[in-house]
Symmetry: C2
Subunit: 355 residues, 2 copies
């Protein structure tokens, strides 16, 4: 069935799987909604986008993505307010970023109309999957991958752009302590660190497993050349509170330009919290931890919003951060979530209603 009011081809699922889902016991990223968005690129252009029942893909074993990791993705969320209205948070940022990532991976840009019409139609069709309640959300995963058959190491001529959605509860990742990387690195100058390239993530699993064996949940990556400067965590940018000042590393071609990160910076400035965007050396943080000046560390990212970091390790030493009353982490998390759930004024025009 071709939807006449849009450029989308819509194939509705016969039945919904929603009754089989226990929304109080969701594991992150495991259950997917009834429909998915799919758009193929071939012969030099993006074909008619389709929304169809969520299901398996048929792929040749020689598809480029399996061999050369030519793939990028995004992560965003939809929220439902008390009046059943659906909201996105700064979705243009994610749209722009996926095309920026695609460019770096030699993947053709995706058209804006297709992205937004596809995404919003999908959210409306699967709106029952977005549960109300502070902390509940629908995690949205747009991604593009090279599907062309053939194992020659060159950019593909065929791609698939997809959006799949997974209901999520308030994400509590347990207590997080991080290891500052001493030997392994995530990204090189002149590399793909700033892109949400698939390969950046698989490359982190092994060092993260080693860090876990030492009792840390995540790694804060340091620059590959000297390991002297702190960059970001696996799926979060990182902030340090030294005294009452907030410090975070500048974005670069090694660091993802996080939507949550830039929102935190804006909120901090708006609340007259002193923010410094500059290189942060491991030594500075060690010194601040020892002198008691290091009050907080937290990560920022779509999945967890703000994730307090309770301690860190470096060269065999472990450091615990003090418990704190008026934490910045809590303030930013509450402030951001109230905007996201339409419970506070949207001073910066960050909310985007799906209607």
């Amino acid at each position: 069935m071709k939807n006449l009011t849009s450029m989308l081809d819509i194939q509705k699922a016969d039945t919904s799987k929603i009754d089989q889902v226990d929304f109080n016991n969701l594991v992150f990223g495991q259950v997917f909604t009834d429909h998915m968005f799919e758009c193929d690129y071939k012969n030099g252009s993006w074909q008619t986008p389709v929304i169809k029942p969520y299901g398996n893909l048929s792929m040749p074993p020689s598809a480029r993505v399996f061999h050369y990791g030519q793939a990028v993705f995004e992560g965003m969320k939809a929220y439902k307010d008390q009046d059943d209205q659906i909201w996105l948070f700064r979705p243009e940022e994610n749209f722009n970023r996926i095309n920026k990532s695609s460019e770096r991976l030699a993947i053709p840009e995706f058209p804006k109309e297709y992205f937004f019409e596809g995404l919003e139609t999908l959210l409306k069709m699967d709106s029952a999957w977005i549960q109300k309640g502070f902390g509940n959300s629908l995690y949205i995963r747009p991604f593009v991958m090279a599907t062309e058959a053939g194992v020659s190491a060159s950019p593909a001529g065929e791609y698939k752009f997809m959006i799949i959605c997974s209901p999520a509860q308030a994400y509590y990742s347990g207590e997080v302590r991080v290891k500052f990387s001493e030997k392994f690195s995530r990204a090189a100058d002149g590399g793909v660190g700033y892109a949400k390239a698939a390969g950046n993530y698989g490359a982190q699993f092994y060092p993260t497993n080693l860090a876990k064996e030492e009792g840390f949940q995540q790694i804060v990556w340091t620059d590959a050349s000297t390991h002297e400067y702190l960059e970001e965590a696996g799926t979060m940018n990182v902030f340090f509170r030294i005294g009452d000042k907030l410090v975070t590393a500048p974005t670069s071609d090694r660091i993802l330009d996080g939507v949550t990160r830039k929102s935190v910076i804006t909120l901090a400035e708006d609340h007259h919290i002193d923010v410094e965007v500059r290189r942060v050396s491991v030594q500075e943080i060690l010194d601040a931890a020892k002198s008691g000046e290091l009050k907080e560390m937290f990560g920022s990212g779509t999945a967890t919003v703000i994730n307090p970091i309770l301690g860190f390790g470096f060269k065999g030493e472990k450091y615990e951060l003090p418990k704190i009353e008026d934490s910045y982490a809590k303030f930013f998390k509450d402030t951001l979530m109230k905007i996201q759930y339409n419970e506070a004024e949207d001073k910066f025009g960050w909310r985007h209603q799906v209607k």
Copy 2:
């Protein structure tokens, strides 16, 4: 049908596609043989390996490989001699390397018996696809990828190990001139450059496209920290002949430990050619090019064996290498191919017969 004499489950194709193939007009990596090898990892172990008709895979859109590039591969070749005997070249090297790559990508190691029994059985079943004649071969692509469904950024619990095969003619890649990278990089210290990780390849496509616009076919990567030292090309290690001395960069955690590279080094030593394995600076090569001491450059890799490099560019300047009579490139290519095709003595025990 379970093959009683082996641990393999063998499902034969009803008919062969071989008659549809024009072996005189093969595009690299486009056509695949009748069968493929597949082995799934789940519940903590590798399951019964299967050889079955080559065909599409059914994969959930949330399969980890699409999102996090948790995938590695190998490239090797089978050769047929004039007596219809089938040969592999140093296959243990590829087996060891895929497990080394897997370790770095947090993928479970693959058992040696499965690899060799699977590979050799597959080659015997599809032996008609290995064409005789110097330069003809069967390109073999083993690969492993994370297949588990679910978009959480952590190592998968399920994987698929596959071997697919594609008939190849003598690979003539046209004239190759390379750009020495000034800004982009392929690998970081402490990263995954030494692994044949899928993501390493997709990351090179965009910079390579830019180099192509400047008239180069490939990039020779330089170290990410300073761009002062030459490392390797996209799918080849690189050798420089300065006077009568052969120079190549040492392997490291940024550089792939190529099978062809190490074979060239051994052959050079055996033929009393002076080989230096040490850092090679861009400046040294520029100086040698200007003084006329730079006699040759060539790449080494399974696909092309030895690929002469006719010129290079750096910071807007282009350099052409002199034409040379007794080229090392030609000597190594001939010597290696004669060993590979069972036309010369195998002094180092590199050939492995499939029987």
